[in-house]
């Protein structure tokens, strides 16, 4: 086994300074696949890695494997807009995301790895009185729950984000905003790497290039998974496969309340600090979010492409929508060039909220349906999913996010948009 990176500290950085590049070691090891595990987690993305970490750390589960079809952190944890926030309307959602935000605040210390949590504030912009009323309602719901939210008028907004010149004539004038100061961004790749390093240190086997093809069962209980590297016995199985939960459902013969859609994001060339926080706003054709990465690139994202797809090929018209909206808000962005652009597969559920529940078998779990909220949920999802898998009882934070809620009518429809994944 290769030697792992040591615990990072001021002292270790000093040692690295003296020893040169030879000091640095891999963050996780290429483990060998064993025949049997207590828990097999499918998918080495944010949720899979965090679940493994919490199973090992909080619940003392010894034999854990993470099976990954391709490379660690190769899916949505590496292709999102890195925004973290807990400004949700429904209690079932805002308590969960608040738990997540609290974990983000201390994650770098917990993992001994700098995930660059940057509480620069998340601002939802209002363009009309109707928008203001909706934001006030959401902000009040948050404040009742004890989550920070501030409603800003134009002057307050100009003080907080001077780059949004309120005097500038815009197609859709800005009339106010809802601010969550503790919201912000986190370095997404560092989250995958940090969890992978911490999990490996706790003895979790991370197996890349190992595709799960099926689940074997006996007497109504799953006994293991068929993989591209052979059969692996497992006491419990967790699927955390981001945009492919629907395909897992098809594999298990379960129809899922999920469709897979494409969501695009793009980054411009790096420039000097220009955008001080995260801007989220809704134009008639859809939502837009803007932020500036620590490297200086302006990160932009928008709505879904609009139809189910696994291709990861973004539609040109959606890219155009997002860029036009960005320029309409901040005209100075027009001179920037787009450096990178990508589309990721999103699990879109029927009510826009996530699902963590048993699926088909008593010992098989699904962690999916994250819609737009996957990245920001990683720490809370890992902790809650691990508790569910270890104890067999869903913790209160995710009790409402069951698969059966669609059948019983207890939907968590944040926007009140109805059972249309494409509109969530």
């Amino acid at each position: 086994m290769r030697q792992l990176a040591p615990k990072y500290s001021a002292w270790s950085l000093l040692c690295a300074r003296v020893a040169g590049n030879d000091y640095w070691r891999p963050l996780w090891t290429g483990a060998t696949l064993r025949d049997a595990y207590d828990v097999v987690i499918v998918g080495a993305g944010g949720h899979g890695l965090a679940t493994a970490y919490h199973l090992a750390r909080d619940h003392g589960v010894k034999r854990i494997a993470i099976l990954e079809k391709r490379l660690l952190g190769y899916g949505n944890v590496g292709r999102n807009t890195t925004i973290v926030r807990s400004n949700y309307l429904l209690p079932e959602n805002h308590y969960f995301y608040e738990d997540s935000l609290r974990r983000w605040e201390t994650l770098s210390r917990d993992l001994n790895y700098n995930v660059m949590y940057s509480p620069r504030g998340v601002i939802d912009l209002a363009h009309s009185d109707g928008d203001m009323a909706a934001l006030a309602r959401r902000g009040n719901a948050m404040r009742v729950a004890g989550i920070d939210a501030e409603l800003l008028d134009v002057r307050g907004l100009a003080r907080f984000a001077p780059e949004l010149d309120p005097k500038l004539a815009r197609r859709f004038p800005v009339v106010g905003a809802l601010l969550q100061r503790r919201g912000g961004t986190v370095r997404h790749d560092a989250v995958a790497w940090g969890y992978a390093r911490a999990a490996t240190t706790l003895g979790v086997d991370i197996i890349e290039d190992c595709e799960v093809i099926g689940v074997r069962s006996a007497a109504g209980v799953a006994t293991g998974v068929e993989t591209s590297r052979g059969y692996v016995k497992a006491e419990r199985i967790v699927f955390a496969v981001a945009g492919h939960s629907g395909a897992i459902g098809a594999m298990l013969g379960v129809q899922m309340p999920i469709e897979t859609h494409l969501l695009q994001a793009m980054v411009t060339e790096p420039v000097k600090p220009l955008i001080s926080s995260v801007f989220v706003y809704v134009y008639p054709h859809g939502e837009v979010y803007l932020t500036q990465s620590d490297r200086g690139g302006v990160v932009m994202g928008g709505n879904l492409d609009g139809f189910p797809s696994y291709t990861r090929e973004g539609q040109w018209f959606r890219l155009e929508d997002v860029v036009q909206s960005a320029v309409a808000l901040l005209p100075q962005l027009a001179s920037l060039r787009i450096l990178r652009h990508w589309a990721g597969t999103n699990d879109m559920s029927m009510d826009g909220s996530f699902i963590i529940d048993r699926i088909r078998y008593d010992n098989v779990f699904i962690n999916g349906g994250w819609c737009y909220g996957g990245f920001k949920a990683i720490p809370a999802s890992g902790a809650a999913c691990a508790a569910f898998v270890a104890t067999g009882t869903a913790p209160d934070l995710i009790r409402h996010h069951s698969l059966s809620r669609f059948r019983t009518g207890q939907l968590l429809d944040e926007r009140g948009g109805g059972p249309f994944p494409v509109r969530q």
């Binding site: 098809a250 189910p308 797809s309 249309f420």
Partner: protein
């Protein structure tokens, strides 16, 4: 997949069309029809509308894994009227 073939208008830009929903298997009950999806990787039957064109409703057979369109038909022509049922 950047264009879709409309039986009235010919091949048109995808942004002229709007995806409505993926169809359930024949015989699905109301709950399955509304809330559940089969998520087939190879073939998906869908309702689309040419909203920014002739506004015709279309039945589209598509492969969501590679984005290819297998078949587009007018939805109106697929209806089986009660007296035509066996």
């Amino acid at each position: 997949m950047s264009r879709l073939y409309c039986p009235f208008c010919g091949a048109r830009e995808l942004e002229e069309f709007r995806f409505h929903k993926t169809l359930a298997e024949p015989g699905a009950n109301a709950y399955e029809e509304v809330y559940e999806r089969i998520n087939r990787l190879a073939v998906s039957m869908e309702h689309w509308q040419h909203v920014h064109g002739c506004r015709a409703w279309l039945l589209v057979r598509r492969n969501p894994s590679d984005g290819s369109v297998l078949d587009v038909r007018l939805l109106a022509r697929t209806a089986v009227l009660p007296h035509e049922r066996a």
